[in-house]
Symmetry: C2
Subunit: 345 residues, 2 copies
């Protein structure tokens, strides 16, 4: 398409700063004949304090009109834990049926990792985004008393599991190594575990070229630090995906460079792209935040909208920048400028 209509949600903390750099690089990479329109939305802690609103039906209607959404970060210590997460972030993922939560991990040469021996890391996690323990199903009785009982219900459907498993197989099929690992805990969570395992095995029969294996989530965390090279594509549930992608980010360059897409492959609703990191209020407004994760999220956004060559150019620019970065301390702005210059040339 020759125009991109983007909803931009800077959000809280460092969100503002990193999104500005993402947009800078986006403007620099797009060919002149692609018209870029952006509309900024004021979601986050400030609006919540002013109005009590996190995300209204009218907001959802407005967001729905855009081709895609770029998000910085949402969350602030002044808001009770859970209010913005459930009331904005998860509400949006559920409302727009973002069932493919895509989180690539790639350790580039020369990039710092806490692991010894600079292992090869190049995999992508396909995290289910609309089910599991994230549905908000559950409740509390006798709250605040010594007899309180609180439950959380993980909801898993054949429909929801099959579509994300299928998406993951297609992604594995399209990669050189063609390997897909299912991560779950099917020896303990036997109801959900059997559903995931059976569907995984059923869909596997349709992808004979894809090598498959299975790991319990606890074992997966071990391999992520002892042998991350064994992973190509991972498919997993919402909560396990949340946990292992933070660990994956930590070992492959840090959350400063970890991008993600909350994707609705059907296109019925716009997909949303965001760095994996949070709002980091402790360093907000100081020009210290690394905008690389947001810039890489812009690349995922472009790829999702069919602009593959621009996405690849951003990724190449980031790779070159990371490899040549060295120990120089650069501001948020300087990193954004450097990346914009690379993609433009």
């Amino acid at each position: 398409s020759h125009s991109i209509d983007l909803a931009v949600i800077p959000g809280d903390g460092i969100g503002q700063e990193v999104v500005a750099q993402g947009l800078k690089v986006l403007a620099a990479v797009l060919p002149q004949d692609v018209k870029l329109e952006t509309k900024e939305y004021d979601f986050g802690a400030k609006r919540y304090h002013a109005t009590g609103e996190t995300l209204t039906d009218a907001d959802l209607d407005a967001l729905k009109q855009h081709d895609a959404i770029l998000l910085g970060a949402i969350g602030d210590p002044s808001v009770p834990s859970g209010v913005l997460e459930r009331g904005f972030l998860l509400k949006l993922r559920f409302a727009f049926d973002h069932h493919v939560n895509l989180r690539p991990s790639k350790l580039l040469p020369g990039v710092a990792t806490p692991l010894a021996g600079q292992p090869e890391i190049d995999f992508v996690v396909v995290r289910e985004g609309t089910e599991g323990p994230y549905t908000g199903n559950g409740g509390t009785i006798r709250k605040g008393t010594e007899h309180e009982v609180a439950t959380e219900v993980s909801v898993n459907t054949a429909y929801g599991v099959e579509r994300v498993v299928r998406d993951a197989f297609a992604r594995a099929q399209a990669r050189p190594r063609k390997k897909l690992t299912l991560v779950h805990k099917n020896n303990v969570l036997t109801f959900a575990g059997h559903l995931w395992t059976n569907i995984f095995n059923k869909v596997a029969a349709e992808f004979p070229e894809v090598t498959t294996d299975y790991l319990h989530v606890d074992a997966a965390t071990i391999f992520l630090v002892t042998d991350p090279a064994r992973f190509d594509v991972i498919v997993t549930d919402n909560l396990f995906g949340d946990i292992i992608t933070d660990l994956a980010a930590a070992v492959s360059g840090g959350i400063g460079v970890a991008a993600s897409g909350n994707i609705n492959p059907s296109g019925a609703f716009p997909s949303m792209f965001e760095p994996v990191h949070g709002s980091a209020p402790d360093i907000a407004g100081q020009g210290k935040a690394d905008p690389t994760a947001t810039v890489l999220s812009v690349a995922l956004l472009l790829r999702h909208l069919g602009h593959e060559s621009e996405a690849a150019r951003i990724e190449a620019a980031v790779a070159a920048d990371l490899t040549e970065r060295g120990d120089a301390v650069r501001s948020t702005d300087e990193i954004g400028d450097a990346l914009a210059a690379r993609v433009a040339s």
Copy 2:
């Protein structure tokens, strides 16, 4: 007490081999005036195939008579996933109300870790053992159809959370750094999260000397690889504890040296001690398994029964052995002999 009456469950795979070494070291460390009695039980895959039984009421009655239980490992690929886990391991933890699942992590000088820079690691995870998503609560409807729905219910009670949080505070209080970190996901699992957080804060008021903090489980996995020295005592729910203790074991010397105790502090039922690793059928019977985790589990067992100086002697022997181990490949038996010789002298 001047006698120890132990139930011994070698179990499957390498369980037999490592338990033999654990008993060898136990016999070597005990003073002559402590009478050791052991009774072996045949739980595991073999018995399941022969009789269909995993753990009967009569078995529980028999086990209940002992002072403590030493377990090797349970699990075999010939048994469908979940059958022995739910039917034996978890059934026992629940039947004997093993609500304190204790998992220490200590990286000794010279011991291999996947982390760069040999960081300082010396913390203990207190994992809740009888609640959370491990209760088996949940179910499946329309099984095997495209309309299948499978649920898993995490059950959390004030009673269950408070007793384990209290245990963790007492352990933190007794350590030099006196620091306790609550790990949960209270921004998403808000029902259970609020229960855990409120009880944690309430009990904290009774332990003014203990410094507290809170981490989401995803962030905790990051710190476990980037800054494990920040942890002293961690308290967390059953599933999060399962995940982070495997990661903790991986960074602090590997699951070959990770011990655990399934403890009922009231003493109403015997506590059970086991290595964190599984039955590793691929290397079973070859004398390749490292018995260190089992030997360290024997130390936890002795401490639980009040034999502190013997426990400390085993831990010192393991520390010396690990530090001096070098690259020599030793058999299961040789490592057991070396440790037995050290504790005896």
